[in-house]
């Protein structure tokens, strides 16, 4: 069986180092807001070239806290609008609605699956306060047009960097491009903890200061609460694990790029639409997922399953069709809905063997019309 994601194998690579730092944390007797967190936050800031990194409980909380921080700063208030791609994972939307802000769903570009930047301006109203770009599947969503639009309308750009850590746009890393970024270190991510974890990254000192407090019950001084905050902290164990794994992130991303290149050069099946990107020249994609499109998804997924290849769909239901957002049920986003009906993801990970990668491509090429 070729697993879609083999977390055991992935963490076994570094098990000696992971066990060593776990022992250090256990022996320290200090499990929250300690030296390991400080160390990871410094390393992450250096890696992304940002001034501030704040470890939080998970990627969703990172986005929630950024928006909550901007509300506390008076940058936005209840009912204000945030432009967001219609085809994102639900966490992006939850972060917005949790803060009683209004997501304005905008169609993606069919070639990148990322927010169609050319459609932003026509969706801006007097209540628009931010654009939340999602670097979906590991590919950066960024352009000069985006920067100019945000500048012209005085909008914040918030990155949902849950899937793209390590990707670069003009030698700047995702997570450092916008006014603030929410990062996820869910175990399956390119930089994955051994549990839930996330971080806010920003160059904005005021926002960083507020987010630190908001993630700790809204408190800067124990038992004194400046804000109605959350309990969302990156614990010492996860911070220590992430410090170990951050060292290997770039090298692992290079393996992902090599596998993606092999897939793009080798998979030749008229029923499958491959990602449209120059993998060698373009460092804007770190291949968290290798997503392809087909009009015969069910048939192909069954064929792959019978050949012992695990696949997943990212994602089967778009946010506007989720029960959680039943008020949007009548809305229609044609490109988004087509994507959700047609995409599936094949295995890509830095621990796949050469034989596994070759088999995935071979089996896909053998699928008959």
């Amino acid at each position: 069986m070729i697993k879609f994601l083999d977390l055991q194998k992935q963490n076994n690579q570094y098990s000696e180092e992971l066990k060593k730092v776990a022992s250090e944390v256990i022996d320290s007797g200090w499990y929250l807001l300690g030296e390991k967190l400080k160390q990871f936050e410094i390393q992450l800031s250096e890696y992304l070239n940002v001034k501030y990194s704040i470890g939080v409980g998970n990627g969703l909380d990172a986005l929630r806290l950024i928006l909550k921080g901007y509300i506390e700063m008076g940058v936005m208030k209840e009912g204000d609008e945030i432009i967001v791609p219609a085809n994102t994972y639900i966490a992006t939307i939850l972060a917005i609605t949790d803060n009683r802000l209004k997501p304005v769903l905008v169609e993606p570009d069919i070639n990148t699956y990322n927010l169609d930047i050319s459609l932003i301006e026509q969706n801006i109203t007097s209540r628009t306060k931010a654009i939340m770009v999602v670097h979906l599947y590991g590919q950066i969503c960024w352009s000069e047009e985006l920067e100019n639009t945000a500048k012209k309308f005085n909008l914040k750009i918030i990155e949902d960097n849950a899937q793209a850590i390590g990707a670069e746009w003009k030698e700047k890393k995702s997570g450092s491009l916008g006014d603030a970024s929410g990062n996820s270190f869910y175990p399956g991510k390119n930089l994955g903890a051994l549990g839930d974890a996330g971080a806010v990254t920003t160059n904005d000192a005021e926002l960083a200061d507020i987010v630190v407090a908001l993630g700790n019950y809204g408190s800067r001084k124990k038992y004194y609460n400046d804000y109605q905050g959350l309990n969302s902290r990156l614990d010492e164990l996860q911070a220590a694990f992430l410090s170990v794994k951050l060292k290997y992130l770039d090298n692992e991303n290079l393996i992902r790029r090599n596998i993606a290149q092999y897939y793009c050069e080798t998979i030749k099946n008229d029923n499958i639409i491959l990602p449209n990107i120059d993998i060698i020249k373009d460092k804007s994609h770190v291949w968290h997922l290798f997503v392809v499109r087909t009009e015969e998804r069910e048939k192909i997924l069954n064929y792959l399953a019978t050949n012992n290849i695990q696949t997943l769909i990212h994602y089967p239901v778009p946010p506007n069709k989720q029960k959680a957002y039943k008020d949007w049920a009548a809305s229609s986003f044609q490109i988004t809905e087509n994507i959700h009906n047609q995409v599936f993801s094949i295995p890509i990970s830095p621990v796949m063997s050469t034989e596994e990668v070759e088999k995935v491509a071979e089996v896909i090429n053998n699928i008959q019309h």
């Binding site: 090599n258 596998i259 290149q261 990668v357």
Partner: protein, 188 residues
């Protein structure tokens, strides 16, 4: 002893590497290497013998803690202060792609040879059909010292091999900067 770079980590080979190294040795990429084991048992025995030798060290090249290739220092001669660099083979080429693991492995090993083993010269030989390796050795500054006629049988034909060498000063002044340049170039 473990040698660690930005991309490559070199560690001594062990018998547990027999399966993967046999796969590499039997692949087309190893066609210019001298013929070796054909079965797992033979490969295990070859490794058992290799690790006992006092005048050679075979390394497994790891990338992200996974084995991707091998390289060896052989014929270590402490009297005359020379040795040979052999068996460079990247087995997992799909995984490694353009990542400069081979260049960095060579750099790590040359540093070790000249700085730790205090050698004066590295020897090598490159079969005449191995055009890419000949070009590479020329580019990084190896001296081509002569030809051994009909030294190997390859595809049923006798083949000449080129004797090459690199002195310490040539390594420091030419080869090392070129290897560093190739590593940098691969990252662009």
């Amino acid at each position: 002893m473990i040698l660690t770079g930005k991309f490559a980590k070199l560690r001594p080979i062990t018998v547990s590497d027999a399966q993967i190294t046999l796969k590499w040795r039997l692949s087309d990429r190893a066609k210019f290497m001298q013929s070796g084991a054909k079965t797992l048992k033979q490969q295990e025995n070859w490794i058992k013998n290799a690790v006992k030798k006092t005048n050679e060290i075979t390394f497994i090249i790891e990338y992200c803690n996974r084995p991707v290739g091998m390289i060896a220092i052989c014929n270590i001669n402490n009297n005359y202060k020379n040795c040979s660099l052999e068996r460079l083979l990247i087995g997992e080429i799909l995984i490694v792609g353009n990542i400069p693991v081979a260049f960095e492995s060579e750099l790590l090993l040359c540093d070790y040879i000249f700085n730790e083993l205090n050698m004066h010269k590295i020897n090598g030989d490159v079969m005449e059909d191995n055009k890419n390796m000949i070009e590479f050795r020329k580019y990084v500054g190896y001296s081509f010292d002569g030809v051994l006629r009909d030294q190997y049988i390859f595809n049923g034909e006798y083949k000449n091999t080129n004797l090459v060498s690199l002195l310490e000063e040539e390594y420091v002044n030419k080869c090392r900067p070129k290897l560093l340049g190739l590593i940098r170039l691969s990252q662009m």
